[in-house]
Symmetry: C2
Subunit: 294 residues, 2 copies
Amino acid sequence: MRVGVIGLGIMGAPMARNLLRAGHEVVVHGRRRARVDPLVALGARAADTPAAVAAATESVVTCLPDGPDVELVVTGPDGVLAGATRGLVVIDTSTIAPDTARTLAARSAEVGVGFLDAPVSGGEQGAIAGTLSIMAGGEPDVFARAQSVFAAIGRTVTHMGPAGQGQMTKLVNQVIGVTTLAAVAEGLTLAAHAGLDPEAVLAAVGSGAATSWQLQNLGPRIQRGDWAPGFMVRLQQKDLRLAFAAAARVGVALPATAVVHQLLASVEARGGGALGTQAIAQALEELAGSGPQP
Amino acid sequence: MRVGVIGLGIMGAPMARNLLRAGHEVVVHGRRRARVDPLVALGARAADTPAAVAAATESVVTCLPDGPDVELVVTGPDGVLAGATRGLVVIDTSTIAPDTARTLAARSAEVGVGFLDAPVSGGEQGAIAGTLSIMAGGEPDVFARAQSVFAAIGRTVTHMGPAGQGQMTKLVNQVIGVTTLAAVAEGLTLAAHAGLDPEAVLAAVGSGAATSWQLQNLGPRIQRGDWAPGFMVRLQQKDLRLAFAAAARVGVALPATAVVHQLLASVEARGGGALGTQAIAQALEELAGSGPQP
């Protein structure tokens, strides 16, 4: 299949590589030449605009930082819809507001284009390995037509309902993930200041009812002060803002997650926006006394 | 070995059964006849006081609700130390303050008795299956002498350091576990009010970086409104009070866990102290509007 990829960052570039590896004809567009060229070297074709990508392909994957970026790429003057022919499928893997996804799906439908909100979980590692978890919202027939693309980039693909429900699921995922991380960070900060052996703590706590992906994967990083992303604080904060807005729309309060958001705001305020989310432990350390350090 | 068990509740009774099954001679003491008799029927001997249990055994396992209970059973007039001979090992599997455990270890050492703080994780299921995770604090030689008892009741046994550090590890475990549960409850409340399919949410979120024991085990209970314990809200609250006190002693703030404690306080205030901790979702529901219900 001829597949476009627009947005060639940490997540988009490995998706494009996996689509090439699966035998698709891939057309890419990105604002930075340094990100386009390596994919061209692997066999992709470069296009100058999103419209040109759409004109040359049957499916277009977008992977962009935020809602306004996706709106511009899809509905802008040189956007996907400007170049699309009827029957094109747009698969937006960005994390954006459910309402924005619903609007883009409606705009796409007006010109005979299928649109799926299909945000992903699994991070850079999952994107590279092609093992992302994909949460999709949109029409069932459009979802069915996206299967060969999904198969190349992800492992678990769940159809969550109509347009916007993929994004809503991703926001649920982000709420649960980051607050689980805060649980780990508070516990490990207590453990460190109490003088407990780091490895013994992970062994004891990691074998029972308190274990989690966050504990297993980010716990050791917190213990050794490794703040490299992973998933950046400022992107997590963007996702939480979307989550609070979506929660307010359906009438739900998220009090523990609100505290987590504020702790991460402190990390950002101290210049840590590009650190991994596990840097939430830095905020707890700022609040703590001078006992043993983590 | 001759092993005593004092405290025959949800956790203590299955520990006594597993000690019998492992071939130990078991002497039990509990305040309620209805809990003693079934163990006698399985081959245990009943003793009238903790002192009498201690006089008849080489190791004594205590499994009691809180610190004052353990202090009374160990150091009271008819307590374990009143009946103990030198060389007895006391294994306290209750969750109590690290400071109390340190005091009891010192008092025991004065009369030649070894004392381990050995709180457990894994709940009633783990106690029944003999697969508890045990976090032990105390002298290495006493820890070594407790191995045959640990082998009968648990699977993962971690020596966390000197007296009190087993309890400290358990408090770390409780902080991480309950705040992870709050993460799950907030996410699933958002999902329910947004109209997402419960099973699809668990499939999508449970396969990625937001997964946890709490999500896998208590997520489905939250979704179907099953509030049976599991682990009771009022015991979790007791453990969190111990955790906040211990955290204050070492100079650590636990802001997200504090919010979780208050949400559970609301569940208790509304009569839910004997519900399972997953009833934290009830507090979130009280805060929410009238969208789709979980």
